[in-house]
Symmetry: C2
Subunit: 235 residues, 2 copies
């Protein structure tokens, strides 16, 4: 039995405003919740219709889970976690920066790609979608426990990073033809407008994924996948 | 004013059964509809709340569009197209094959990637999601006009292709270390089970995208993006 006040608190976490106010976020599904626990994130409450699945889970009914869930079809387990406190970015190795990425699925995929390629810091412009959005969590799986996601004004912090700044744009040089250093920042722009003008002005080099066919553009997450691969392949 | 029977026909196209029965599919949004028209697909009907946007569009009200649309927020224009007739695959150059990919967003992204990389033929196992699913169309944009998507039993057609067969799996050799010929088939497996056992038994070589971090897996569309890039980079 979940108290009415708890239900209300948890439902409020579907919205960024209340996640920020309470310092809490939601994660759903046994796999995601387990991965976040293993990654060391601090749970506030774990609920499950099958509480034996996870140590520390409180039993709830399907109807209660439905009331808390941000999913159309809730997935047995729901975790409420404390939003981790982050140190400022250390700008060591390669860092990914996102300038105005709005789609939660794209951000989630990019966080998972950072984790795959061993990139520990992701710096997002303040207008990038919130990484604790439930739809982002669905696409990241547990990677959010291993990748620090910072929201900072890029035009202020990138010049202070001390790293060479690379940006992705269709007008850039093919990534395979560019000499890539062993550390730097890769900036990816928004789905509709690319890298914003003030950030573009800071870039040392612009790179692209060469096209061989007629598609007008690549999705930001697939372009990011290829460019991070190219960086790691050469490193 | 859209006749009741037409509304009923168009709504039925949200389901694969009726798309197959009528040989028609839906595409939504001015951009997607224009790209399909430019790509040479044959329209059955085009409707728009702003009919001046597209030659041949019939005027509809917002309420009528809402009734026809598969989207929560319909996007002004909706096109009904004839499903194109395809010749059997020619197996020339590189071909992408998908074995049981279920997520419409993943299939849509992979069709767009084929178009980006100039791959003209995509061969899907019959249990792969239907490429005329409205959610696939949203992710492909107009690429469906330039990439032929075939549904065929892979274990029967791959041996007849005459091409070397490459498959993606985490147990494979890093793609960058493999000699890739100038033509072949790249097989990607389902999100949860990878390449199925009967198809795996046919492969000449298994390749992977090497991991540098701790993420458990890569999404099939991002893994496909990287492997197609690697193939085209070396070709």
């Amino acid at each position: 039995m979940v108290a009415k006040n708890d239900l209300k608190l948890i439902r409020s976490l579907h919205q960024k405003k209340y996640r920020t106010r309470h310092g809490l976020f939601l994660a759903e599904g046994v796999k995601v919740v387990s991965e976040l626990l293993e990654g060391g994130l601090e749970p506030y409450r774990i609920y499950s219709t099958e509480p034996d699945l996870l140590a520390g889970a409180e039993a709830v009914t399907g109807a209660e889970l439905q009331k808390m869930s941000a999913l159309v079809q809730p997935n047995r387990t729901l975790g409420v976690f404390h939003i981790p406190e982050l140190h400022p970015p250390a700008w060591s190795g390669w860092v990914l920066a996102l300038d105005g990425v709005r789609d939660p699925g794209n951000l989630g995929t990019l966080i998972r790609l950072c984790d795959w390629f061993g990139i520990r810091e992701l710096v997002c412009s303040p207008d990038t979608v919130d990484c604790f959005n439930p739809k982002v969590l669905q696409a990241t799986m547990g990677s959010l426990a291993r990748v620090g996601v910072h929201y900072l004004p890029l035009e202020e912090v990138l010049p202070q990073s001390g790293l060479p700044l690379f940006g992705a744009s269709m007008e850039g040089a093919p990534a395979a033809s560019v000499t890539l250093p062993d550390k730097g920042v890769l900036v990816l722009g928004s789905e509709s407008h690319g890298v914003s003008a003030p950030v573009r002005a800071l870039l040392d080099q612009v790179v692209c994924v060469p096209a061989f066919g007629q598609a007008e553009s690549l999705n930001v997450a697939t372009a990011g996948a290829i460019l991070l691969y190219e960086i790691k392949r050469k490193a």
